[in-house]
Symmetry: C2
Protein backbone atom coordinates (compact mmCIF):
# COMPACT_ATOMS: atom_id res chain seq x y z
CA UNK A 1 0.00 0.00 0.00
CA UNK A 2 2.88 2.37 0.80
CA UNK A 3 3.99 2.22 -2.83
CA UNK A 4 0.65 2.98 -4.47
CA UNK A 5 -0.23 6.04 -6.55
CA UNK A 6 -1.92 7.95 -3.73
CA UNK A 7 1.09 7.38 -1.48
CA UNK A 8 3.47 8.78 -4.09
CA UNK A 9 1.30 11.89 -4.36
CA UNK A 10 1.35 12.23 -0.58
CA UNK A 11 5.12 11.87 -0.49
CA UNK A 12 5.50 14.58 -3.11
CA UNK A 13 3.25 16.94 -1.13
CA UNK A 14 5.03 16.10 2.11
CA UNK A 15 8.60 16.81 0.95
CA UNK A 16 7.59 19.73 -1.27
CA UNK A 17 8.70 22.56 1.02
CA UNK A 18 12.03 20.92 1.89
CA UNK A 19 13.32 20.35 -1.63
CA UNK A 20 13.71 22.31 -4.86
CA UNK A 21 11.44 21.66 -7.79
CA UNK A 22 14.34 21.34 -10.17
CA UNK A 23 14.27 22.79 -13.69
CA UNK A 24 13.97 20.73 -16.87
CA UNK A 25 16.53 21.69 -19.50
CA UNK A 26 17.09 20.62 -23.06
CA UNK A 27 19.64 21.16 -25.78
CA UNK A 28 18.86 21.53 -29.45
CA UNK A 29 22.30 20.21 -30.31
CA UNK A 30 22.05 17.12 -28.12
CA UNK A 31 18.61 16.47 -29.61
CA UNK A 32 20.16 16.64 -33.08
CA UNK A 33 22.94 14.25 -32.12
CA UNK A 34 20.47 11.82 -30.54
CA UNK A 35 17.74 12.18 -33.15
CA UNK A 36 15.28 12.41 -30.27
CA UNK A 37 13.60 15.00 -28.05
CA UNK A 38 15.22 14.85 -24.63
CA UNK A 39 14.11 16.53 -21.41
CA UNK A 40 16.71 16.57 -18.66
CA UNK A 41 15.36 16.73 -15.10
CA UNK A 42 18.25 18.54 -13.43
CA UNK A 43 18.67 17.10 -9.96
CA UNK A 44 22.22 18.47 -9.96
CA UNK A 45 20.41 21.69 -8.98
CA UNK A 46 18.67 19.89 -6.10
CA UNK A 47 19.61 20.88 -2.54
CA UNK A 48 23.06 19.45 -1.70
CA UNK A 49 23.41 18.67 -5.38
CA UNK A 50 21.59 15.37 -5.90
CA UNK A 51 18.20 13.61 -5.99
CA UNK A 52 19.12 11.80 -2.76
CA UNK A 53 17.79 14.83 -0.89
CA UNK A 54 14.28 13.70 -1.82
CA UNK A 55 14.45 10.22 -0.35
CA UNK A 56 16.36 11.29 2.75
CA UNK A 57 13.82 13.99 3.50
CA UNK A 58 10.88 11.65 3.03
CA UNK A 59 12.40 8.94 5.22
CA UNK A 60 12.90 11.38 8.10
CA UNK A 61 9.45 12.94 7.71
CA UNK A 62 7.98 9.44 7.99
CA UNK A 63 9.37 8.96 11.51
CA UNK A 64 7.40 9.53 14.70
CA UNK A 65 8.27 12.51 16.91
CA UNK A 66 9.92 10.13 19.33
CA UNK A 67 12.05 8.59 16.56
CA UNK A 68 12.99 12.01 15.23
CA UNK A 69 14.23 13.07 18.66
CA UNK A 70 16.56 10.07 18.76
CA UNK A 71 17.97 10.76 15.31
CA UNK A 72 18.85 8.81 12.16
CA UNK A 73 21.88 6.76 11.18
CA UNK A 74 23.17 5.54 7.83
CA UNK A 75 26.34 4.24 6.26
CA UNK A 76 27.38 5.97 3.05
CA UNK A 77 30.45 7.66 1.69
CA UNK A 78 28.54 9.33 -1.11
CA UNK A 79 25.65 11.69 -1.74
CA UNK A 80 23.28 9.96 0.66
CA UNK A 81 25.53 10.79 3.61
CA UNK A 82 25.28 14.48 2.73
CA UNK A 83 21.59 14.25 1.91
CA UNK A 84 20.65 12.62 5.21
CA UNK A 85 22.79 15.13 7.10
CA UNK A 86 21.18 18.15 5.42
CA UNK A 87 17.64 16.74 5.55
CA UNK A 88 18.11 15.96 9.24
CA UNK A 89 19.55 19.40 9.94
CA UNK A 90 16.61 21.07 8.15
CA UNK A 91 14.22 19.07 10.33
CA UNK A 92 16.12 19.50 13.59
CA UNK A 93 17.00 15.81 13.82
CA UNK A 94 20.43 14.39 14.78
CA UNK A 95 22.19 12.48 11.96
CA UNK A 96 24.87 9.86 12.56
CA UNK A 97 26.88 8.97 9.49
CA UNK A 98 29.12 5.91 9.31
CA UNK A 99 31.91 6.43 6.81
CA UNK A 100 34.95 4.32 5.97
CA UNK A 101 38.10 5.91 7.40
CA UNK A 102 39.46 5.80 3.86
CA UNK A 103 36.75 8.10 2.44
CA UNK A 104 38.11 11.30 0.86
CA UNK A 105 38.48 14.18 3.33
CA UNK A 106 36.40 16.39 1.02
CA UNK A 107 33.39 14.07 1.46
CA UNK A 108 33.78 14.01 5.23
CA UNK A 109 34.01 17.79 5.26
CA UNK A 110 30.78 18.07 3.24
CA UNK A 111 28.93 15.84 5.72
CA UNK A 112 30.23 17.93 8.62
CA UNK A 113 29.15 21.15 6.85
CA UNK A 114 25.61 19.83 6.84
CA UNK A 115 25.79 18.95 10.53
CA UNK A 116 26.21 15.16 10.23
CA UNK A 117 28.09 13.41 13.06
CA UNK A 118 30.67 11.11 11.47
CA UNK A 119 31.81 7.79 12.92
CA UNK A 120 34.70 6.26 11.01
CA UNK A 121 35.13 2.53 10.54
CA UNK A 122 37.26 0.09 8.54
CA UNK A 123 36.33 0.02 4.82
CA UNK A 124 34.33 -3.23 4.62
CA UNK A 125 30.56 -3.63 4.32
CA UNK A 126 30.48 -5.73 7.49
CA UNK A 127 32.31 -3.05 9.48
CA UNK A 128 29.96 -0.38 8.19
CA UNK A 129 26.89 -2.41 9.10
CA UNK A 130 28.26 -3.35 12.51
CA UNK A 131 29.18 0.24 13.30
CA UNK A 132 25.76 1.51 12.24
CA UNK A 133 24.06 -1.15 14.37
CA UNK A 134 26.14 -0.16 17.37
CA UNK A 135 25.09 3.48 16.94
CA UNK A 136 21.45 2.39 16.67
CA UNK A 137 21.78 0.55 19.97
CA UNK A 138 23.62 3.30 21.77
CA UNK A 139 21.55 6.26 20.60
CA UNK A 140 18.21 4.79 19.68
CA UNK A 141 18.60 6.36 16.23
CA UNK A 142 16.66 4.85 13.32
CA UNK A 143 18.72 3.25 10.56
CA UNK A 144 17.90 4.55 7.06
CA UNK A 145 19.36 2.67 4.13
CA UNK A 146 20.55 4.84 1.21
CA UNK A 147 18.56 2.90 -1.41
CA UNK A 148 16.87 -0.20 0.01
CA UNK A 149 14.13 1.57 1.98
CA UNK A 150 10.56 2.07 0.80
CA UNK A 151 10.33 5.69 2.02
CA UNK A 152 13.63 6.50 0.32
CA UNK A 153 12.43 4.84 -2.89
CA UNK A 154 9.19 6.81 -2.82
CA UNK A 155 11.04 10.06 -2.24
CA UNK A 156 13.34 9.44 -5.20
CA UNK A 157 10.28 8.74 -7.37
CA UNK A 158 9.09 12.32 -6.99
CA UNK A 159 11.70 13.58 -9.48
CA UNK A 160 10.14 11.55 -12.32
CA UNK A 161 6.67 12.47 -11.06
CA UNK A 162 7.50 16.19 -11.41
CA UNK A 163 9.01 15.56 -14.83
CA UNK A 164 5.79 13.87 -15.97
CA UNK A 165 3.74 16.71 -14.53
CA UNK A 166 5.73 19.06 -16.78
CA UNK A 167 5.90 16.73 -19.81
CA UNK A 168 3.05 14.26 -19.73
CA UNK A 169 3.70 12.69 -23.14
CA UNK A 170 7.16 11.19 -22.66
CA UNK A 171 7.72 7.81 -24.33
CA UNK A 172 10.49 6.77 -21.96
CA UNK A 173 12.19 7.95 -18.80
CA UNK A 174 15.80 6.90 -18.41
CA UNK A 175 17.74 7.01 -15.17
CA UNK A 176 20.98 5.59 -13.81
CA UNK A 177 21.04 2.37 -11.79
CA UNK A 178 23.18 2.15 -8.65
CA UNK A 179 21.72 0.85 -5.41
CA UNK A 180 18.30 0.75 -7.06
CA UNK A 181 16.48 3.44 -5.06
CA UNK A 182 16.20 5.95 -7.88
CA UNK A 183 15.17 3.50 -10.59
CA UNK A 184 12.63 1.76 -8.34
CA UNK A 185 11.02 5.10 -7.46
CA UNK A 186 11.20 6.31 -11.04
CA UNK A 187 9.54 3.14 -12.33
CA UNK A 188 6.64 3.63 -9.91
CA UNK A 189 6.20 7.27 -11.00
CA UNK A 190 6.25 6.15 -14.65
CA UNK A 191 3.62 3.49 -13.94
CA UNK A 192 1.31 5.90 -12.12
CA UNK A 193 1.79 9.12 -14.06
CA UNK A 194 3.11 8.10 -17.48
CA UNK A 195 1.05 7.84 -20.61
CA UNK A 196 2.35 4.83 -22.55
CA UNK A 197 5.69 5.61 -20.96
CA UNK A 198 8.32 3.07 -19.97
CA UNK A 199 11.18 3.25 -17.45
CA UNK A 200 14.62 2.20 -18.66
CA UNK A 201 17.85 2.07 -16.66
CA UNK A 202 21.40 2.89 -17.69
CA UNK A 203 24.19 0.99 -15.96
CA UNK A 204 27.98 0.85 -16.39
CA UNK A 205 29.21 -2.47 -17.85
CA UNK A 206 31.82 -2.33 -15.10
CA UNK A 207 29.12 -2.54 -12.39
CA UNK A 208 26.28 -4.37 -14.13
CA UNK A 209 24.79 -6.17 -11.13
CA UNK A 210 21.27 -4.90 -11.84
CA UNK A 211 21.41 -5.95 -15.51
CA UNK A 212 22.46 -9.44 -14.41
CA UNK A 213 19.94 -9.52 -11.57
CA UNK A 214 17.07 -8.92 -14.00
CA UNK A 215 18.31 -11.88 -16.04
CA UNK A 216 18.86 -14.38 -13.23
CA UNK A 217 15.92 -13.27 -11.11
CA UNK A 218 18.03 -12.87 -7.98
CA UNK A 219 20.17 -10.07 -6.57
CA UNK A 220 23.62 -10.32 -8.13
CA UNK A 221 26.77 -8.66 -6.82
CA UNK A 222 29.70 -6.93 -8.50
CA UNK A 223 33.10 -8.55 -8.25
CA UNK A 224 34.83 -5.35 -9.27
CA UNK A 225 33.51 -1.84 -9.88
CA UNK A 226 35.98 -0.12 -12.18
CA UNK A 227 33.79 2.76 -13.29
CA UNK A 228 34.03 6.56 -13.23
CA UNK A 229 30.32 6.55 -12.35
CA UNK A 230 31.19 6.34 -8.67
CA UNK A 231 27.58 6.72 -7.58
CA UNK A 232 26.65 3.45 -9.31
CA UNK A 233 28.96 0.97 -7.62
CA UNK A 234 26.41 -0.22 -5.06
CA UNK A 235 24.02 -3.14 -5.54
CA UNK A 236 20.28 -3.75 -5.42
CA UNK A 237 18.41 -4.72 -2.27
CA UNK A 238 15.42 -6.87 -1.36
CA UNK A 239 13.03 -3.89 -1.12
CA UNK A 240 13.81 -2.25 -4.46
CA UNK A 241 14.53 -5.35 -6.57
CA UNK A 242 10.92 -6.61 -6.75
CA UNK A 243 9.75 -3.13 -7.76
CA UNK A 244 12.43 -2.98 -10.45
CA UNK A 245 11.57 -6.49 -11.69
CA UNK A 246 7.94 -5.54 -12.03
CA UNK A 247 8.19 -2.04 -13.47
CA UNK A 248 11.46 -1.49 -15.33
CA UNK A 249 11.35 -2.31 -19.04
CA UNK A 250 15.05 -2.87 -19.47
CA UNK A 251 18.53 -1.94 -18.36
CA UNK A 252 21.04 -0.84 -21.00
CA UNK A 253 24.73 -1.24 -20.22
CA UNK A 254 27.36 1.25 -21.37
CA UNK A 255 31.14 1.37 -21.58
CA UNK A 256 33.37 3.82 -19.74
CA UNK A 257 34.13 5.65 -22.99
CA UNK A 258 30.44 6.02 -23.69
CA UNK A 259 29.95 7.51 -20.21
CA UNK A 260 32.84 9.95 -20.71
CA UNK A 261 31.54 11.07 -24.11
CA UNK A 262 28.03 11.64 -22.79
CA UNK A 263 29.43 13.48 -19.78
CA UNK A 264 31.43 15.82 -21.99
CA UNK A 265 28.41 16.44 -24.19
CA UNK A 266 26.32 17.49 -21.18
CA UNK A 267 29.01 19.78 -19.77
CA UNK A 268 29.88 21.36 -23.12
CA UNK A 269 26.44 21.75 -24.62
CA UNK A 270 24.18 22.24 -21.63
CA UNK A 271 26.77 24.15 -19.57
CA UNK A 272 25.87 22.30 -16.42
CA UNK A 273 28.11 20.49 -13.93
CA UNK A 274 26.95 16.90 -13.50
CA UNK A 275 28.65 13.89 -11.97
CA UNK A 276 29.65 10.94 -14.17
CA UNK A 277 26.72 8.81 -12.95
CA UNK A 278 24.36 11.42 -14.43
CA UNK A 279 25.73 10.82 -17.91
CA UNK A 280 24.97 7.11 -17.94
CA UNK A 281 21.34 7.38 -19.19
CA UNK A 282 22.36 9.67 -22.08
CA UNK A 283 25.16 7.24 -22.89
CA UNK A 284 22.58 4.44 -22.98
CA UNK A 285 20.31 6.45 -25.26
CA UNK A 286 23.15 7.26 -27.67
CA UNK A 287 24.25 3.61 -27.66
CA UNK A 288 20.82 2.54 -28.87
CA UNK A 289 19.99 5.58 -30.99
CA UNK A 290 17.85 3.76 -33.56
CA UNK A 291 15.51 2.46 -30.92
CA UNK A 292 14.91 5.92 -29.46
CA UNK A 293 14.71 7.77 -32.78
CA UNK A 294 12.09 10.58 -32.79
CA UNK A 295 10.93 9.61 -29.30
CA UNK A 296 10.27 11.97 -26.43
CA UNK A 297 12.58 11.00 -23.61
CA UNK A 298 13.00 12.16 -20.05
CA UNK A 299 16.39 11.72 -18.40
CA UNK A 300 16.98 12.06 -14.67
CA UNK A 301 20.25 13.95 -14.13
CA UNK A 302 21.08 12.42 -10.78
CA UNK A 303 23.55 14.91 -9.32
CA UNK A 304 26.36 17.39 -9.70
CA UNK A 305 28.80 16.64 -6.91
CA UNK A 306 32.18 16.25 -8.57
CA UNK A 307 35.74 16.78 -7.45
CA UNK A 308 36.89 19.58 -9.75
CA UNK A 309 40.49 18.66 -9.03
CA UNK A 310 39.94 15.20 -10.40
CA UNK A 311 37.86 15.44 -13.57
CA UNK A 312 37.76 12.73 -16.23
CA UNK A 313 38.52 15.09 -19.14
Amino acid sequence: MRTDKASLKQVSARIHSYIHRTPVLNSRLINEIAGAEIYFKCENFQRMGAFKMRGATNAILNLTQHQKAKGVVTHSSGNFAQALSLAAESLGVPAYIVMPATAPEVKKAAVRTYGGKITECPPTLKDREDTARKIEEETGATFIHPSNDIEVIMGQGTAAMELLEDYSNLDHILCPVGGGGLIAGTSLAVKYFGNNCSCIGGEPMEADDAWRSLRTGRIETNKSVNTIADGLKTQLGDKNFPIIQENVEEIIRVTEDEIKNALKLIWERMKIVVEPSSAVPLAALLREKERFKNKKIGIIISGGNVDLNNLPF
Copy 2:
Protein backbone atom coordinates in the same frame (compact mmCIF):
# COMPACT_ATOMS: atom_id res chain seq x y z
CA MET B 1 19.37 58.96 -29.79
CA ARG B 2 20.26 55.36 -30.64
CA THR B 3 21.35 54.79 -27.04
CA ASP B 4 18.27 56.18 -25.30
CA LYS B 5 15.77 54.26 -23.20
CA ALA B 6 13.20 53.81 -25.94
CA SER B 7 15.87 52.45 -28.28
CA LEU B 8 16.99 49.87 -25.72
CA LYS B 9 13.40 48.71 -25.37
CA GLN B 10 13.14 48.46 -29.15
CA VAL B 11 16.35 46.45 -29.34
CA SER B 12 15.07 44.04 -26.70
CA ALA B 13 11.81 43.55 -28.61
CA ARG B 14 13.64 43.18 -31.91
CA ILE B 15 16.09 40.44 -30.84
CA HIS B 16 13.57 38.70 -28.57
CA SER B 17 12.68 35.81 -30.86
CA TYR B 18 16.30 35.08 -31.84
CA ILE B 19 17.76 34.73 -28.35
CA HIS B 20 16.97 32.92 -25.12
CA ARG B 21 15.62 34.78 -22.13
CA THR B 22 18.20 33.23 -19.82
CA PRO B 23 17.38 32.09 -16.29
CA VAL B 24 18.46 33.88 -13.11
CA LEU B 25 19.98 31.55 -10.53
CA ASN B 26 21.18 32.02 -7.00
CA SER B 27 22.95 30.01 -4.34
CA ARG B 28 22.22 30.16 -0.65
CA LEU B 29 25.77 29.13 0.11
CA ILE B 30 27.38 31.76 -2.10
CA ASN B 31 25.08 34.34 -0.53
CA GLU B 32 26.31 33.23 2.90
CA ILE B 33 29.93 33.47 1.85
CA ALA B 34 29.40 36.90 0.29
CA GLY B 35 27.10 38.26 2.98
CA ALA B 36 24.91 39.60 0.17
CA GLU B 37 21.94 38.56 -1.97
CA ILE B 38 23.22 37.73 -5.43
CA TYR B 39 21.23 37.10 -8.60
CA PHE B 40 23.20 35.53 -11.43
CA LYS B 41 21.94 36.24 -14.96
CA CYS B 42 23.09 33.08 -16.68
CA GLU B 43 24.21 33.99 -20.19
CA ASN B 44 26.19 30.76 -20.26
CA PHE B 45 22.78 29.30 -21.16
CA GLN B 46 22.40 31.82 -24.01
CA ARG B 47 22.46 30.50 -27.59
CA MET B 48 26.05 29.55 -28.55
CA GLY B 49 26.88 29.92 -24.87
CA ALA B 50 27.48 33.64 -24.34
CA PHE B 51 25.84 37.09 -24.16
CA LYS B 52 27.58 38.02 -27.44
CA MET B 53 24.64 36.44 -29.25
CA ARG B 54 22.54 39.44 -28.25
CA GLY B 55 24.76 42.13 -29.74
CA ALA B 56 25.56 40.15 -32.87
CA THR B 57 21.86 39.55 -33.54
CA ASN B 58 20.98 43.19 -33.01
CA ALA B 59 23.75 44.44 -35.26
CA ILE B 60 22.59 42.23 -38.14
CA LEU B 61 18.90 43.08 -37.64
CA ASN B 62 19.86 46.75 -37.91
CA LEU B 63 21.16 46.31 -41.48
CA THR B 64 19.17 47.11 -44.60
CA GLN B 65 17.99 44.25 -46.82
CA HIS B 66 20.68 45.18 -49.30
CA GLN B 67 23.38 45.08 -46.62
CA LYS B 68 22.08 41.76 -45.28
CA ALA B 69 22.32 40.22 -48.74
CA LYS B 70 26.00 41.19 -48.92
CA GLY B 71 26.79 39.76 -45.51
CA VAL B 72 28.76 40.73 -42.41
CA VAL B 73 32.43 40.52 -41.51
CA THR B 74 34.31 40.67 -38.21
CA HIS B 75 37.65 39.77 -36.74
CA SER B 76 37.53 37.73 -33.56
CA SER B 77 38.96 34.51 -32.26
CA GLY B 78 36.53 34.32 -29.38
CA ASN B 79 32.82 34.15 -28.64
CA PHE B 80 31.91 37.00 -31.00
CA ALA B 81 33.12 35.00 -34.01
CA GLN B 82 30.72 32.21 -33.08
CA ALA B 83 27.94 34.63 -32.16
CA LEU B 84 28.08 36.53 -35.44
CA SER B 85 28.21 33.25 -37.37
CA LEU B 86 25.16 31.81 -35.63
CA ALA B 87 23.19 35.06 -35.68
CA ALA B 88 23.94 35.45 -39.40
CA GLU B 89 22.98 31.85 -40.10
CA SER B 90 19.68 32.28 -38.22
CA LEU B 91 18.93 35.35 -40.35
CA GLY B 92 20.09 33.90 -43.67
CA VAL B 93 23.02 36.30 -43.93
CA PRO B 94 26.58 35.35 -45.01
CA ALA B 95 29.21 35.79 -42.25
CA TYR B 96 32.92 36.26 -42.95
CA ILE B 97 35.13 35.70 -39.93
CA VAL B 98 38.77 36.80 -39.86
CA MET B 99 40.74 34.66 -37.41
CA PRO B 100 44.46 34.49 -36.69
CA ALA B 101 45.98 31.35 -38.21
CA THR B 102 47.22 30.56 -34.71
CA ALA B 103 43.70 30.36 -33.20
CA PRO B 104 42.90 26.97 -31.62
CA GLU B 105 41.38 24.48 -34.07
CA VAL B 106 38.44 23.95 -31.70
CA LYS B 107 37.45 27.63 -32.07
CA LYS B 108 37.69 27.48 -35.84
CA ALA B 109 35.57 24.33 -35.85
CA ALA B 110 32.89 26.05 -33.73
CA VAL B 111 32.70 28.96 -36.18
CA ARG B 112 32.39 26.54 -39.11
CA THR B 113 29.64 24.62 -37.28
CA TYR B 114 27.61 27.81 -37.18
CA GLY B 115 28.19 28.46 -40.87
CA GLY B 116 30.83 31.20 -40.63
CA LYS B 117 33.31 31.49 -43.52
CA ILE B 118 36.79 31.74 -42.02
CA THR B 119 39.68 33.71 -43.52
CA GLU B 120 42.95 33.16 -41.71
CA CYS B 121 45.57 35.87 -41.29
CA PRO B 122 48.80 36.50 -39.36
CA PRO B 123 48.21 37.09 -35.64
CA THR B 124 48.58 40.87 -35.40
CA LEU B 125 45.82 43.45 -35.01
CA LYS B 126 46.95 45.21 -38.20
CA ASP B 127 46.74 41.99 -40.21
CA ARG B 128 43.28 41.28 -38.82
CA GLU B 129 42.04 44.75 -39.68
CA ASP B 130 43.61 44.71 -43.14
CA THR B 131 42.14 41.30 -43.90
CA ALA B 132 38.69 42.35 -42.73
CA ARG B 133 38.89 45.52 -44.85
CA LYS B 134 39.86 43.49 -47.90
CA ILE B 135 36.84 41.24 -47.41
CA GLU B 136 34.59 44.31 -47.04
CA GLU B 137 35.88 45.61 -50.37
CA GLU B 138 35.64 42.30 -52.20
CA THR B 139 32.23 41.20 -50.94
CA GLY B 140 30.48 44.40 -49.92
CA ALA B 141 29.95 42.88 -46.47
CA THR B 142 29.40 45.22 -43.52
CA PHE B 143 32.06 45.22 -40.82
CA ILE B 144 30.74 44.64 -37.30
CA HIS B 145 33.13 45.21 -34.42
CA PRO B 146 32.83 42.73 -31.50
CA SER B 147 32.49 45.44 -28.85
CA ASN B 148 32.98 48.95 -30.24
CA ASP B 149 29.69 49.22 -32.12
CA ILE B 150 26.57 50.97 -30.84
CA GLU B 151 24.16 48.25 -32.02
CA VAL B 152 26.34 45.59 -30.41
CA ILE B 153 26.48 47.59 -27.17
CA MET B 154 22.70 48.01 -27.15
CA GLY B 155 22.20 44.29 -27.76
CA GLN B 156 24.48 43.37 -24.85
CA GLY B 157 22.53 45.75 -22.62
CA THR B 158 19.40 43.63 -22.94
CA ALA B 159 20.79 41.02 -20.49
CA ALA B 160 20.86 43.56 -17.63
CA MET B 161 17.51 44.94 -18.80
CA GLU B 162 15.93 41.47 -18.44
CA LEU B 163 17.59 41.03 -15.06
CA LEU B 164 16.10 44.31 -13.84
CA GLU B 165 12.71 43.30 -15.20
CA ASP B 166 12.91 40.21 -12.99
CA TYR B 167 14.53 41.92 -9.98
CA SER B 168 13.78 45.62 -10.00
CA ASN B 169 15.33 46.45 -6.63
CA LEU B 170 18.97 45.55 -7.21
CA ASP B 171 21.52 47.89 -5.60
CA HIS B 172 24.29 47.06 -8.05
CA ILE B 173 24.84 45.13 -11.24
CA LEU B 174 28.34 43.76 -11.73
CA CYS B 175 29.71 42.53 -15.03
CA PRO B 176 33.12 41.71 -16.49
CA VAL B 177 35.06 44.27 -18.55
CA GLY B 178 36.82 43.17 -21.73
CA GLY B 179 36.36 45.12 -24.94
CA GLY B 180 33.74 47.26 -23.20
CA GLY B 181 30.62 46.25 -25.14
CA LEU B 182 28.95 44.39 -22.28
CA ILE B 183 29.67 46.92 -19.57
CA ALA B 184 28.65 49.87 -21.76
CA GLY B 185 25.33 48.22 -22.58
CA THR B 186 24.84 47.08 -18.99
CA SER B 187 25.47 50.61 -17.68
CA LEU B 188 22.80 51.99 -20.02
CA ALA B 189 20.29 49.37 -18.89
CA VAL B 190 21.09 50.18 -15.25
CA LYS B 191 20.60 53.89 -15.91
CA TYR B 192 17.25 53.39 -17.65
CA PHE B 193 15.74 50.52 -15.68
CA GLY B 194 17.50 50.49 -12.31
CA ASN B 195 16.09 51.93 -9.13
CA ASN B 196 19.00 53.52 -7.27
CA CYS B 197 21.14 50.89 -8.92
CA SER B 198 24.75 51.31 -10.01
CA CYS B 199 26.84 49.47 -12.60
CA ILE B 200 30.25 48.22 -11.49
CA GLY B 201 32.85 46.39 -13.57
CA GLY B 202 35.20 43.59 -12.65
CA GLU B 203 38.52 43.40 -14.46
CA PRO B 204 41.63 41.23 -14.13
CA MET B 205 44.66 43.09 -12.74
CA GLU B 206 46.57 41.42 -15.57
CA ALA B 207 44.48 43.26 -18.20
CA ASP B 208 43.38 46.41 -16.40
CA ASP B 209 43.22 48.78 -19.38
CA ALA B 210 39.66 49.89 -18.56
CA TRP B 211 40.50 50.61 -14.91
CA ARG B 212 43.43 52.76 -16.07
CA SER B 213 41.39 54.38 -18.84
CA LEU B 214 38.82 55.61 -16.32
CA ARG B 215 41.65 57.22 -14.36
CA THR B 216 43.53 58.87 -17.21
CA GLY B 217 40.46 59.78 -19.24
CA ARG B 218 41.82 58.23 -22.42
CA ILE B 219 41.77 54.71 -23.84
CA GLU B 220 44.71 52.80 -22.38
CA THR B 221 46.17 49.59 -23.76
CA ASN B 222 47.48 46.42 -22.13
CA LYS B 223 51.16 45.65 -22.51
CA SER B 224 50.63 42.04 -21.51
CA VAL B 225 47.47 40.05 -20.82
CA ASN B 226 48.46 37.17 -18.57
CA THR B 227 45.00 36.19 -17.38
CA ILE B 228 42.90 33.03 -17.41
CA ALA B 229 39.93 35.30 -18.19
CA ASP B 230 40.63 34.98 -21.89
CA GLY B 231 37.52 36.88 -22.89
CA LEU B 232 38.79 40.02 -21.16
CA LYS B 233 42.09 40.60 -22.94
CA THR B 234 40.72 43.12 -25.43
CA GLN B 235 40.61 46.89 -24.89
CA LEU B 236 38.00 49.63 -24.93
CA GLY B 237 37.02 51.57 -28.05
CA ASP B 238 35.92 55.12 -28.87
CA LYS B 239 32.21 54.19 -29.02
CA ASN B 240 31.92 52.37 -25.69
CA PHE B 241 34.44 54.38 -23.65
CA PRO B 242 32.34 57.57 -23.36
CA ILE B 243 29.32 55.50 -22.29
CA ILE B 244 31.44 53.74 -19.67
CA GLN B 245 32.90 57.05 -18.45
CA GLU B 246 29.45 58.48 -18.00
CA ASN B 247 27.57 55.53 -16.54
CA VAL B 248 29.89 53.10 -14.77
CA GLU B 249 30.39 53.79 -11.07
CA GLU B 250 33.69 51.98 -10.74
CA ILE B 251 35.87 49.15 -11.93
CA ILE B 252 37.26 46.72 -9.36
CA ARG B 253 40.41 44.81 -10.25
CA VAL B 254 41.03 41.23 -9.15
CA THR B 255 43.97 38.83 -9.03
CA GLU B 256 44.22 35.56 -10.91
CA ASP B 257 43.81 33.61 -7.66
CA GLU B 258 40.66 35.54 -6.86
CA ILE B 259 39.27 34.69 -10.30
CA LYS B 260 40.10 31.00 -9.87
CA ASN B 261 38.49 30.86 -6.43
CA ALA B 262 35.32 32.55 -7.64
CA LEU B 263 35.23 30.25 -10.68
CA LYS B 264 35.46 27.17 -8.50
CA LEU B 265 32.76 28.48 -6.21
CA ILE B 266 30.36 28.94 -9.16
CA TRP B 267 31.08 25.51 -10.62
CA GLU B 268 30.91 23.69 -7.30
CA ARG B 269 28.00 25.46 -5.70
CA MET B 270 25.80 26.47 -8.61
CA LYS B 271 26.63 23.40 -10.72
CA ILE B 272 26.96 25.43 -13.87
CA VAL B 273 29.77 25.55 -16.43
CA VAL B 274 31.01 29.11 -16.86
CA GLU B 275 34.14 30.48 -18.46
CA PRO B 276 36.79 32.19 -16.31
CA SER B 277 35.71 35.69 -17.47
CA SER B 278 32.30 35.03 -15.90
CA ALA B 279 33.85 34.62 -12.46
CA VAL B 280 35.49 38.05 -12.44
CA PRO B 281 32.48 40.02 -11.10
CA LEU B 282 31.97 37.56 -8.22
CA ALA B 283 35.70 37.79 -7.50
CA ALA B 284 35.35 41.59 -7.37
CA LEU B 285 32.39 41.34 -5.01
CA LEU B 286 34.22 38.95 -2.68
CA ARG B 287 37.32 41.18 -2.74
CA GLU B 288 35.26 44.10 -1.44
CA LYS B 289 32.82 42.18 0.72
CA GLU B 290 32.28 44.89 3.33
CA ARG B 291 31.13 47.37 0.73
CA PHE B 292 28.52 44.98 -0.68
CA LYS B 293 27.33 43.60 2.66
CA ASN B 294 23.57 42.94 2.76
CA LYS B 295 23.12 44.48 -0.69
CA LYS B 296 21.08 43.01 -3.53
CA ILE B 297 23.44 42.42 -6.42
CA GLY B 298 22.97 41.27 -9.99
CA ILE B 299 25.88 39.57 -11.72
CA ILE B 300 26.05 38.97 -15.46
CA ILE B 301 27.48 35.50 -16.07
CA SER B 302 28.98 36.24 -19.46
CA GLY B 303 29.39 32.79 -20.97
CA GLY B 304 30.14 29.12 -20.65
CA ASN B 305 32.45 28.25 -23.50
CA VAL B 306 35.42 26.49 -21.95
CA ASP B 307 37.91 23.94 -23.16
CA LEU B 308 37.20 21.00 -20.87
CA ASN B 309 40.60 19.54 -21.68
CA ASN B 310 42.29 22.64 -20.33
CA LEU B 311 40.59 23.64 -17.10
CA PRO B 312 42.22 25.84 -14.45
CA PHE B 313 41.43 23.47 -11.55
